[in-house]
Amino acid sequence: MPEEFGDEQRFRREQADLELLFRAHYAEIVRYLAVRLGSREEASDLASEVFVEALRRVPTLRWRGKPVLAWLYRVASNMAADELSRRGREAPAAEVEGTAVPIDLSEQVADREALVRALRTLPPDYQLVVHLRLVEGYSFAEVARMTGRSVGACQMVLLRAGRLLRTTLRQEGIRATA
């Protein structure tokens, strides 16, 4: 939405002004990590570490057509993967068998939680596209720029993410009604 999204002027400004960078993006990095880690508190801690890394590295970044935010997300994603790996908490896809029953997910709290769990089982790059487009509301063009994919590829990722979610939920015996 900002008019300068992804332009070099904004890149330079954020590179030169880390406080601005922190204020502008801390909240969305926390939201992203909260889903990856499944914990709001741990997300805040890890987000701070992301920005400590930014302090060291952002001033040395070179403009390659991507906003500084793209770099922040990449670091956050890597740190989240390290954290999950270290704690052995990579959530495996559920392997519960059963008959799929149509349920209106919007009215079932327990199943909404299953949906959030299922979201965490998506590949990290899928989670990132879902987060950027559906949580933060970036346009597909912006998501494409941040992830280094084409707009069409980002749309395909969302399609596959949706199908993976559906499969995971069906394994838990849940089928969403449209």
Partner: protein, 432 residues
């Protein structure tokens, strides 16, 4: 084959998620799943928490930005160029205090939710109707609601949700719904709400800062460069900020043309408050009356092709239903052309007054050449039973438009100021 089908589904899914179509079958099911999965992650991180985290961060984050010398040079250059005293009595640099930083922090940072109550008055009394706007902004999530009042009446309600925009006019009980800002001639004028525009400008820094007293209290006066229009017209904003709270008290829009400078509007900020996402979410909603007349707009930037441009005689033009709007046979210059333009998605009528002024009449499809750059500053001012919105197009023409379902009208004037176009609006009439 499968891949091609998936690409088609992926595109449709994207359109459903953007609210541009309802979808069915698998696409609709996946859209529901994705929306539901994403919803819990849309929680708010309050501005206070961000500030706490920032305070805990290593020292360099909290080091006050050394304002580049360039900025002071620019301020000096601006003062010299205008050769006028204006507001900049003196450029003050209070040691250890960066007013722009503090002012931005007072607004909760660049993406915090805001509740704003502002009064917009013309600098020259009578130039346009004063209005009061109550706005809820949660632009980090692309959600916002504006209520605009004039002469004690609610004249317009605008809702932004994701990309979808709904504009409700209570006085005519009509609403215009667009898949995105591009479906409206002025884009989303409210996105450049004076306070929001001021917040954005703060991120780019200020040209000059002076400390003064106003209403018996100390204030900072910030001058922020905003926009350069056609014919070397420059509009900038001068913002008075409370020296204690760093919140804006008044925003003055100034228009410069060559050596001449004049104030255009004065925005008195009655309230500006940082709000949490939860509060904003509750406030940002719009329920339309059951009998409201709704016009569904088409995005003129997607797949719209011009099929025909046809000149009309005055007699032919007078038979068009609904009636074409114009300014009479003469307005500074005589009418030189009346044309019907037909696209694959709709039609519009164009009345030209020489090279100086053009009047457009249109319905569900905004003529593509009227579509503004999305972030070009605009101003909305109530008139009659609607709201006139001013904006510049990508090629720097000035446009004033009045939206009415089925019979919207826009006046394009490359050489006129806002008030000139506003005066032209008062002369609008049906071509009969």
């Amino acid at each position: 084959m499968r891949l091609r089908e998936d690409r088609r589904l992926a595109l449709r899914l994207a359109r459903v998620l953007e609210g541009r179509e309802r979808g069915e079958g698998e696409v609709r099911e996946l859209a529901s799943l994705l929306e539901l999965a994403a919803a819990p992650a849309r929680f708010d991180v309050p501005a206070e928490e961000v500030e706490r985290a920032l305070r805990r961060a290593p020292t360099p984050f909290r080091t006050r930005r050394p304002r580049p010398a360039r900025r002071l040079l620019l301020a000096g250059a601006a003062v010299a160029a205008t050769a006028s005293a204006l507001v900049v009595a003196s450029i003050v640099r209070t040691p250890g205090l960066d007013v722009a930083d503090e002012a931005l922090a007072a607004l909760g940072g660049p993406r915090a939710g805001l509740r704003i109550v502002e009064r917009i008055d013309p600098s020259r009394p009578g130039a346009f109707t004063p209005s009061v706007r109550v706005a809820w902004l949660d632009l980090g999530r692309r959600r916002a609601l504006w209520n605009q009042f004039a002469e004690g009446r609610l004249v317009a309600v605008t809702l932004l949700e994701g990309r979808r925009v709904t504009r409700f006019s209570p006085l005519t009980n009509s609403a215009i719904v667009g898949p995105s800002c591009r479906a409206f001639a002025s884009g989303c004028a409210e996105l450049v709400d004076p306070v929001e525009l001021y917040r954005r400008a703060l991120q780019r820094g200020v040209s000059s800062t002076s400390k003064e007293r106003s209403g018996g209290r100390p204030v900072y006066v910030l001058r922020l460069p905003v926009q350069r229009l056609a014919d070397a017209v420059v509009i900038d904003q001068v913002v008075t900020v409370d020296a204690r709270t760093f919140l804006p008290l008044q925003i003055v829009w100034r228009e410069r043309r060559g050596d001449a400078e004049r104030e255009f509007a004065v925005i008195t900020v009655r309230l500006v408050k940082v709000v949490s996402a939860a509060v904003a979410a509750q406030a940002i909603s719009l329920t339309l009356p059951a009998n409201v007349r709704i016009e569904q707009r088409v995005d003129p930037t997607r797949g719209v092709r011009l099929l025909e441009t046809r000149p009309l005689t005055r007699a032919q033009a007078s038979r068009v239903v609904p009636a074409i709007s114009w300014l009479g046979p003469n307005y500074r210059e005589p009418v030189t052309a009346i044309e019907e333009l037909r696209w694959n998605a709709g039609r519009a009528y164009r009345v030209r007054y020489g090279n100086s002024l053009t009047v457009w009449s249109y319905g569900a499809l905004v003529p593509p050449e009227l579509v503004a750059g999305r972030y070009v500053p605009a101003k909305s001012i109530p008139q009659g039973d609607g709201v006139v919105r001013f904006y510049t197009t990508d090629d720097d023409r000035l446009v004033a438009e009045l939206e009415r379902p089925g019979r919207s009208v826009a006046i394009v004037g490359p050489r006129y100021g806002k008030e000139d176009l506003f005066a032209a609006f008062a002369r609008l009439q049906e071509l009969r």
